[in-house]
């Protein structure tokens, strides 16, 4: 295929369809991370949690042939890592920027270690979450292809956005989370347990990162490889900043990124006259540009990265 076809209608539809699908891991991870940050904890271990989730989801899907068990395994391991991060940053009040890097390194090493000892070789599965064509809607020309022919995880990711918004802005729990992230001392005075809220959000963030990994390994790619996330966890953290700590903002950011990712993939297929390495660079350069542009526009949670000590 030559590069002149790159801007044809089929390709544009292909890019948009892929963009919707590729957004799901970013969405899961970034929304989970957003709750943690809203309560004042910066979890930089997302990448490691995603890798562990991706491995466990893949391993149990291979073992049982059932992606639901794989998904459950990813949630459990994500919860365990999230809880550990919560203990380190809430109870031991460790510097969050660095302890998160510890979890990142741990996840990279541990997922590779488990993969090499328990599976050994790269293999592709066909028992993951397959595309579900929504009746009637998927038959609509163009839009049906772009929006309604995706796997379960993609639908779930987008459904989660309004749910997250509702929890954060319309429930008591959401109010408590925001209060703990903005002014933990005031929240504490009013009887909100800062520690309990942070344990909850960071553990749930871990679960979501695990699910994000599963979305990669048993829904989008159906394969596991060492270090397969390639920085997606860190991009998810950046998306929280970019989205202004709001669910719909995060969704917009995730779609922007996944569109760039999809374009990059298609550029490689169509041999566009740019070396593929430069195409792969695009999302990372975009992250930096986006961070420069967004900073100052929105203010983050006041107590972000600050451990809470009762005075």
């Amino acid at each position: 295929m030559d590069s002149s076809q790159f801007f044809s209608a089929t390709v544009v539809i292909g890019i948009l369809t892929a963009a919707i699908r590729l957004a799901s891991p970013y969405l899961f991870a970034a929304i989970g991370e957003m709750f943690g940050q809203r309560s004042g904890v910066l979890n930089l271990g997302v990448e490691g949690q995603m890798l562990m989730g991706a491995f466990f989801a893949f391993y149990y899907t291979v073992q049982t042939g059932n992606p639901w068990i794989g998904l459950l395994a990813a949630m459990v391991v994500g919860a365990a890592m999230g809880f550990a991060m919560a203990v380190v940053s809430v109870r031991w009040r460790a510097v969050q920027g660095i302890s998160g890097i510890g979890f990142f390194i741990f996840g990279v090493g541990m997922s590779e270690l488990l993969f090499k000892t328990m599976m050994g070789e790269v293999r592709i599965i066909n028992t993951g979450f397959n595309p579900i064509f929504i009746p009637f809607l998927s038959d609509i020309p163009v839009l049906g292809t772009i929006f309604f022919r995706h796997n379960f995880m993609t639908y779930l990711a987008f459904l989660l956005v309004p749910v997250a918004w509702f929890i954060l802005h319309k429930t008591t729990l959401g109010l408590k989370i925001r209060a703990v992230g903005e002014n933990p001392h005031a929240a504490d005075t009013l009887g909100v347990s800062v520690a309990r809220i942070r344990y909850l959000t960071v553990t749930m963030g871990g679960v979501m990162s695990g699910v994000a990994g599963a979305a990669l390994s048993i829904a989008n790619l159906n394969v596991f490889q060492e270090n397969m996330t390639a920085g997606m966890g860190f991009i998810a953290v950046a998306l929280v900043y970019f989205g202004g700590w709001r669910p719909f903002g995060v969704m917009f950011g995730a779609l922007l990124f996944s569109t760039v990712m999809a374009m990059q993939l298609f550029m490689q297929v169509f041999n566009v006259a740019i070396p593929s390495e430069f195409a792969v660079m695009l999302p990372y350069i975009l992250t930096i540009v986006v961070l420069v542009l967004t900073v100052g526009r929105v203010r983050g949670p006041s107590a972000l990265t600050e451990p809470f000590v009762r005075e």
């Binding site: 031991w92 890097i101 979890f103 430069f278």
Partner: protein, 383 residues
């Protein structure tokens, strides 16, 4: 008697050992993981120690592995002292190495001129790659953790492009395999070997000298004072007339420069060409991340980083021999390093508690004023 014991227990010198206790916790969990995987932890750890120190060759390998860790760890010390978290040593090392290699392949000058210039160019390349996120943080308030991670990914792609294209060894370009590597540097450009048959090279001396220089810079110059002041309290520093933004850029620039130098030394002292395996850590062997672990373990003190770098160099060399002896993949050590970071950072709360206890102990030692003692005790009870 009990008082003197307490004083001994609370003495500041013991604080230096806290990272060791923390690392021990990581090793114990590592042993549990090994045990669950069906490997005898004792056998595995012993294979690691033998592999790292068992004979002269093993020892030399440990030392040459320690050199990049030491240089990068020194850079991390500078950055972290300014409260700038530099995760970008991987990319800084790559860019330094790329520039130094390109220079060495381009010129045909005498070795005594090329080697120092190449080291400086590596230093410079890393400095540029560090200064960019530094400036973004200082002037645009961009989170440096995220920007340095992104700069790593960009550097990796740049390396893959250059080593697989413009900078590729012409022989490889003609061959079928097309390994991503540059041509070999002229033998007059190689760093001197200290014990000729072995791979021990002059990079060790450069790194040790720099450790002392960084120590002097951080603790005995105004620049170092300013960097530490900014890390300690940026608001007070600004009030005191320190240009906070400039110190942030300088800290990340120096941090990157040392990583870039580590990259140049890796090329001129070890491989004599720049080579990767296609994976992001193909050239660096994760030195950029392990350097963070090293610096934390060394207590963010330039002289502490020296023994820490040998320790982690040994761990990495030992991991390979453990893989040979017990079939446990060397990735085990990456997981172990992650846990070391987690526990060492968490141990800071211990240091805090000891500091508080020390203050209390000192107050009760004071002979005359009794009321303050009561006051402190009350405060303690309240909290």
């Amino acid at each position: 008697m009990r008082d003197s014991l307490t004083r001994l227990f609370l003495s500041k010198r013991l604080d230096a050992f806290l990272p060791m206790f923390a690392a021990m916790a990581a090793f114990i969990i590592g042993a549990i993981i090994l045990f669950i995987m069906g490997t005898n932890p004792w056998v595995a750890y012993r294979a690691m120690i033998n592999g790292a120190f068992g004979n002269q060759n093993a020892l030399v390998e440990t030392i040459v592995k320690a050199v990049p860790l030491l240089l990068i760890g020194l850079g991390i010390c500078i950055a972290f002292r300014a409260k700038v978290i530099n995760i970008g040593a991987e990319g800084q090392m790559i860019v330094g190495a790329l520039m130094a290699t390109a220079f060495g392949l381009a010129v045909e000058w005498p070795g005594w001129l090329v080697i120092p210039m190449a080291m400086f160019i590596g230093f410079f390349g890393g400095a540029v790659w560090g200064a960019i996120p530094g400036a973004l943080k200082a002037y645009f308030n961009v989170n440096e953790i995220l920007s340095t991670v992104m700069m790593n990914a960009i550097a990796v792609q740049l390396m893959n492009y250059l080593l697989g294209g413009p900078m590729m060894d012409p022989q490889q370009a003609a061959a079928l395999g097309k390994l991503p590597e540059t041509a070999r540097l002229d033998s007059s450009y190689h760093l001197a070997r200290l014990m000729p048959p072995t791979r021990l090279h002059a990079g060790l001396i450069i790194a040790l000298v720099l450790a002392v220089l960084v120590y002097i810079m951080l603790f005995h110059t105004t620049l170092g004072y300013r960097i530490r002041a900014v890390g300690f309290n940026p608001f007070a520093s600004r009030y005191g007339g320190i240009r906070v933004r400039r110190q942030i850029v300088i800290a990340l620039l120096l941090s990157g420069a040392l990583a870039g130098l580590a990259g140049a030394i890796q090329v001129y002292g070890m491989n004599y060409r720049m080579i990767t395996d296609g994976s992001p850590t193909g050239f660096t062997a994760s030195a950029g991340y392990n350097g963070i672990v090293t610096a934390l373990f060394g207590g963010l003190h330039p002289l502490g980083v020296i023994p820490a770098s040998f320790f982690f160099g040994a761990l990495l060399v030992g991991a390979n021999s453990m893989q040979r002896m017990t079939q446990v993949p060397s990735a085990f050590v990456i997981a172990l390093n992650g846990m070391v970071v987690i526990f060492v950072v968490s141990a800071a709360i211990w240091r805090e508690q000891r500091e508080r206890q020390r203050r209390l102990a000192k107050v009760s030692d004071a002979p005359v004023p009794i009321p303050p003692v009561e006051e402190t005790r009350q405060k303690k009870q309240e909290s």
